[in-house]
Amino acid sequence: MAELTYRDAVIRGIAQEMARDPDVVFLGEDIGKAGGVFKATVGLYDQFGPLRVRDTPISEQAILGAAMGAAMTGLKPIAEIMFSDFIAVCFDYIANEFSKSRYMTNGQVKIPLVVRTGNGGGARFGAQHSQSVENWCMMIPGLKVVAPSSPTDVIGLLAASVRDPDPVIFLEHKSLYATKGEVRDGEIVDTLGTAKIVRPGKDATILALALMVPRAVAAAEKLKNEHGIDCEVIDVRSLVPLDTQTILSSVARTHRLFTVEENPRLCGWGAELVSIAADEAFYDLDGPPVRITTPHIPLPSADILEDLALPSVDRIAERVQRSLNS
């Protein structure tokens, strides 16, 4: 058992998989000698050498294209796209290429790759370096989409992603890199498609992802302390595959559903989950599901404005309390 930062968990997760399997290779901008712009790959170049940890030019299409070509011919690449906003530069590979090849070729082509990327806001980077883009990826058939919130989950879900035979978009939250958690020793391997109840409760179900998980948990504590409202917080962890069983069985117990989403309002992952609940858990619900999201805006840079935009502990608690008391 050791206390590890989310950042160091990324390093440990990649190292665990590269040490296990020589077919796992790693490429991206500044990941090697420089140790990554978020210092989340420090030491991997020294440990595994320049043939397995390869610095690339600023060529996002080349990075994802090369990862795909390597994956379809036998390697298991991990590709880093530095900021998830840059996915827009190489979206062809995500939207048209490695997501569709297996289907279009009637199963001839297999693409076991992981795209790691720094996602989310809170770092005052402005509209082009702060977005939560999980919904860009979630809507594409053929992809898996994962977003861990704790150091242990980083290692376990990264290992599961590397070992998965399908392409996985692995969203690391930039504002979680410095957070810490207890991590057990030895190999850690988790399972994709499993949500986790991080705080049990009986009065309402709150679904959250990545940075919104600790905020939802803090809001739940506040609601308990100040209003006696006992919320269950579920870390969705994996948007595709989606663990609807854990979510719907929680709703069946609590009868209320809230989502806390960092993405802008339209077409966020919470909309899909509310839709599923409306279809399949309508009679379990005692009130309308509520989505707590960033407004439909680009993210501003100034701290006071960015803080206003992203769902905060106070906003989550206030919205849940207002809804339950109405």
């Binding site: 994802l64 294209g65 070509g69 070729t105």
Partner: protein, 343 residues
């Protein structure tokens, strides 16, 4: 390296030159398969038996034949939506290709990909890509795997002149040179990006070759209607790649006889241009080449008749083939064989 300017006449050639009779017969046969199969694909359009769109390589057969015949088993082809020719050139059965175009169960991908996505991993055809430029970085990745694992196969990436103006082309060229990858980039310059002459929208005369210097690569322009010239350029580039000396960029000058796609009657071409290129038709040219080498008219006719029979038989096989099973709609989205996104 042979270029269009210094192409040597084939007169006084001997059968025992660097290419040899067997290879030449294979290249002729490959070109003839492409010609006949592409013409048949067009005829099947007119009968509404091939749906959707299709991009033919009539007139460009020598590029596909020269590069494919020079390959070894295990070398990998990456094609564009104009990929029927390169797929056939690797030995994929004609009925598998026509069946895919016709949306039949006997098709290469059982109708799930269609004309623009022909793939046969067993033949080294690693896909046909319909987003311009996408497959150049993908070919780099396959070459990276060969380099990393110490395998000797070469990744060969075919694309049109229009591809040279998209970002992925430039990213891939730089990437391949910096990483010294065993990849060969083949530009088939057929003079038109789609409907627009490539010269009208490109800063340099030779859209691929004139960019080579920017990536420290030699300027290579090949007569793409002469399979021998193509074969020699391909062999040189493959040897370089296998020797660990990095990528090549080869521009093949050629011409497509039909429009860009099914919907294009190619009215934009100046009068007489098509006829001028047909004087140097790759198949006519190569038939004369074989005769110069002493191949008999009978031997040539035998190849042609065999191929015509194969195309006819393939056509009948496809016409008799059922449509794909309906359960294919949701198979192979994910590795578990299905499309489940939730539990």
């Amino acid at each position: 390296m042979s270029t269009i300017e210094d192409r040597a006449p084939a007169a006084k050639a001997t059968l025992n030159d660097d290419i040899g009779e067997d290879t030449r017969l294979a290249m002729y046969r490959t070109q003839f398969v492409i010609r006949e199969a592409e013409q048949r694909a067009y005829d099947l359009f007119l009968q509404n038996l091939v749906k959707g769109t299709s991009h033919l390589s009539l007139g460009q057969e020598a590029v596909a034949a020269g590069f494919a015949v020079a390959m070894r088993k295990g070398d990998l082809s990456f094609c564009t939506y104009r990929g029927h020719a390169h797929t056939l050139a690797r030995g994929v059965p004609i009925d598998k290709v026509l069946g895919e175009l016709m949306g039949r169960d006997n098709g290469l991908m059982r109708g799930k990909g269609g004309s623009m996505h022909l793939t046969s991993v067993d033949h080294g055809v690693m896909g046909s890509y319909a987003i311009i430029g996408a497959h150049l970085p993908i070919a780099c990745g396959a070459a990276w795997r060969a380099q990393y694992k110490g395998e000797k196969d070469v990744s060969v990436c075919f694309f049109g002149d229009g591809t040279t103006n998209i970002g992925a082309f430039h990213e891939a060229l730089n990437f391949a040179v910096v990483w010294k990858l065993p990849v060969v980039f083949v530009c088939e310059n057929n003079l038109y990006m789609e409907y627009t002459p490539i010269g009208d929208v490109t800063a340099v005369e030779h859209p691929a070759a004139d960019r080579a210097a920017a990536y420290g690569l030699p300027r290579i322009i090949v007569d793409g209607n002469d399979a021998d010239a193509v074969y020699r350029a391909a062999s040189t580039a493959y040897d370089k790649a296998r020797a660990g000396e990095g990528p090549s960029l080869i521009e093949c000058m050629t011409y497509r006889y039909s429009g860009h796609s099914r919907a294009d009657p190619a009215k934009y071409r100046p009068e007489g241009e098509l006829e001028k290129w047909k004087e140097r038709d790759p198949i006519k040219l190569y038939r004369e080449r074989l005769k110069q080498f002493g191949v008999s008219d009978e031997a040539i006719a035998r190849i042609e008749n065999d191929v015509k029979r194969e195309v006819n038989e393939a056509t009948e096989t496809c016409k008799a083939a059922p449509p794909p099973a309906l359960d294919l709609l949701t198979t192979d989205v994910y590795a578990d064989g299905g499309f489940a996104w939730r539990n």
